[in-house]
Amino acid sequence: MIVGRLALKSLANRWPTALLTVFGIALSVMLLLGVEKVRNGARQSFTDTISGTDLIVGARTGEVQLLLYSIFRIGDATNTIAWKSYSEIAAFPEIAWIVPIALGDSHRGFRVMGTNGAYFEHYRFRRGQSLTFAAGGPFADLFDAVLGADVAAALGYRLGDPIVIGHGIGSTSFAPHEDKPFRVAGILTKTGTPVDRTVHVGLDGIEAIHIDWQSGARIPGQGVGAEQVRGMDLTPDAVTAAMIGLHSRLDALRLQRLINTYGEEPLSAILPGAALQQLWSLVGTAETALAAVSFMVVLTAILGMVTTILSTLNERRREMAILRSVGARPATILGLLTAEAGILTAAGVTLGGALLYVVLWFARPIVDSRYGLYLPIEAPAVDELASLAAIVVGGVLAGLVPALRAFRLSLADGMIVKT
C-alpha cells in the first residue's frame, strides 16, 4: 500500500498542522459523543426521578401538571384532595402503601413538603434506590424536619438547627410561622432528584403550624402555642397529592380509571412512567438542539481539515509531478489525498473517543454528586459506533474535494510544474 505509506509520511512531515487538525476533529468528536452521553444520562436521570410508585393521585388536573407539582415541585396544585377521599382510597384492597404529600409552604426558597415516615421507606429513584440519610433519621417529633442534600448544603444546616417555615412559596416569606420552629432531624444523601431541594416535615407538623390560620392569614387573637398544639387533633382536612404503590401492577390501569371517575370529588390518577415520557417529549426539544449544535461542530472540524489540505495543494504540485514522473496515475494522486483525509479523520475520531473516556473517568463522580447526572462508562453503543463510522466516511468524502482538485491539477501539470 504505497498510497497509504506515502500519505502517512507526508502527514508526518507536516505533523504540526496534521496534529492540530486531528486534535480539532478529536475535540469535536468528543463533544458529539459527550453530548450524546449527557443526553442519555439526562433522560435516564429524568425518568429515574421516581420509580417504584405505581400511581400518583391529585385533584383533577392534567397529567404533566400533576407530575410537575407533586414530584418536581414546579408550579402549584389548583386544588387538593379531601382527607375523606384520601382515606377511602387508602383503604382500597389493591393498595400496598400510600404516602400523602402536602405542599404550599417554603423555607428560604426551598419547597416544604408535608408527608409521613412512609415516604422515606417507599420513595424510590434511579432503578429502585431508596433514600438514605447522610445524618440523623426520619421524623421522631411533631416539629422534626428532614432536609434534602442541596437544602442542607446551600443553607449550611446541621442536625438540631432550628428552621422557620414560611407560609406560601417565595424566597422571602411575608408570613413566617415563626411561632412554631422546626428542628433539623435528618439530612438525606444526594439523589439528583427534586428531593434534594425539598424540606420534608410531618403532615401533622404542617397541620400544626396552620391550626390558628384561616385563608392564608393568622386568625387574630387566637394564637395557639407550640406546646399547646401537641394535644390537639392534627388530622389534616386535605392533602395535595398522594403516591401509591400497588400489590400488583396489573391493577394500575383499573385503579386509575376508578380514581378518575371517583364520585365524591374530581380526582386525577396518573402513571408516573407515562407522564414522565410525556414530559420528556416536551423537554426533549432542547436535547435535539444540543445534538444539532455538536453535529455542526463536527462539520466545522471537517471543513477545517479540507481547508488545510486545500491550502497545501499549490506547494505540493511539485510532489505530484514527481509521483507522475515515476508512473503514478492521476488516480493515485486522488487516492493519496483522499487517504490523507481518511487518516486524519480516523485518527481524530479515535483520539476523540479515547479522550471522552478519560474525561468521563475523571468527571463522572463530580457530575454525579453535583448535578445528579449518572453517566455510565461503557463500551460505545452500536449507534455511537455507527455515527463514528459516519464521521470517518464523511471525512473521506470531504477529502475528495481537495483530492479532485489535485487530480485536475495533476492532469493539467503532468510532469511539468511552472512555478
Partner: protein, 258 residues
C-alpha cells in the same frame, strides 16, 4: 493498488529477444495542441532516437521543450501522429496504460526539486519500483525482493557518490542540490529502465559537479544499455553526448492560430 499490467507490454518481458531494432523512439507526424492555451501547439514531422544513444536536444526554454518531453514520456497524447517507444505506439494507449508504460520503461530526472521531501533518500530511490512490476522484477526476482531492492538502491547511491550515512536520512533538508540530483539519478536508474529522460539535469549544478554528475549517470546507464535523452539550453554539455540536435530542427511551434 498494484499497477500490474493486464497485458504485459512485450518490451517488459525479460525473455531473450531477437536482434534489437535500431530505434528506441520514433515520433512521426505528431501534432499536439494544448487545450485552452489559445492555440499553442507543435508539430513534429519525424524524430528518432537510436537504442543506447546519448542524445542532447539543445534549445531555449519556451520553445516546446516541456511539451516534447511530456509527449515522449506519455504524460500527454498527441491529437495526431504516432509516438513509438520500444516498438509500442504509446499515442494509441489509454492514459492509464501510458502511465504504466512510463513507470516500466522511463527514468526521469528534473532540473531540481526532484525528491519527495517527506520520504527518506532510500525511499525516494525505491519509489519507481512501487509503480512498476517490471522494474521490480529486474531488480529483484528472488523471495527477499524487498531486501534486494534496497541493496540495489544502496549500490546505486554509493556508485553515484552518496555515502551510506546519508541513505536513511531525510531527502531534502540536509542534502546539497548536487546530492539531490544524484539521488534523482539513482531513482531514474533503479530497475534498469530502457530510457532515461533528463530535463536540464545540470543547470542547478556548477561546472565541476556538472561533469561528475553526467559521467556517473552515463556510466550507470551504459551498464544496462539505456538510451539517454537530455534537453538543455546549455551549449557546454555538447562534448558529453553522442549526438546533439537543436530543438527547432525537431519541433515546429504553432502559435497564434486564433
Amino acid at each position: 493498488m498494484n499497477p500490474r499490467p493486464a497485458i504485459a507490454p512485450a518490451a517488459s518481458d525479460p525473455a531473450p529477444q531477437p536482434a534489437a531494432p535500431p530505434n528506441a523512439i520514433v515520433l512521426a507526424g505528431v501534432r499536439f495542441q494544448w487545450p485552452g492555451q489559445a492555440g499553442f501547439g507543435l508539430t513534429i514531422e519525424h524524430f528518432a532516437v537510436e537504442r543506447g544513444e546519448r542524445l542532447l536536444i539543445l534549445g531555449p526554454s519556451g520553445s516546446g521543450k516541456s511539451t516534447l518531453l511530456s509527449l515522449l514520456c506519455g504524460v500527454i497524447a498527441p491529437q495526431a501522429g504516432s509516438v513509438v517507444v520500444l516498438d509500442t505506439d504509446i499515442a494509441r494507449l489509454s492514459s492509464v496504460a501510458r502511465d504504466r508504460f512510463r513507470a516500466d520503461h522511463f527514468g526521469i530526472v528534473f532540473q531540481m526539486f526532484n525528491l519527495l521531501p517527506y520520504a527518506s533518500v532510500l525511499d525516494n530511490v525505491l519509489l519507481p519500483l512501487h509503480f512498476s512490476e517490471a522494474r521490480r522484477r529486474r531488480v529483484a526476482a528472488g523471495r527477499s525482493a524487498e531486501a534486494e531492492a534496497e541493496a540495489e538502491a544502496r549500490r546505486l547511491l554509493n556508485r553515484l557518490g552518496l555515502e551510506a550515512a546519508l541513505h536513511d536520512g531525510p531527502s531534502s533538508a540536509t542534502l546539497s542540490v548536487g546530492q539531490q540530483q544524484r539521488v534523482a539519478a539513482a531513482r531514474a536508474l533503479i530497475g534498469a529502465p530502457e530510457i532515461i529522460v533528463a530535463d536540464e539535469p545540470t543547470s542547478a549544478l556548477d561546472q565541476t559537479h556538472r561533469q561528475a554528475f553526467l559521467e556517473l549517470l552515463f556510466q550507470e546507464a551504459a551498464r544496462v544499455g539505456a538510451t539517454i535523452v537530455t534537453v538543455s539550453h546549455d551549449e557546454g554539455l555538447r562534448p558529453y553526448f553522442d549526438r546533439v540536435v537543436p530543438l527547432d530542427s525537431i519541433v515546429a511551434i504553432d502559435r497564434g492560430r486564433t
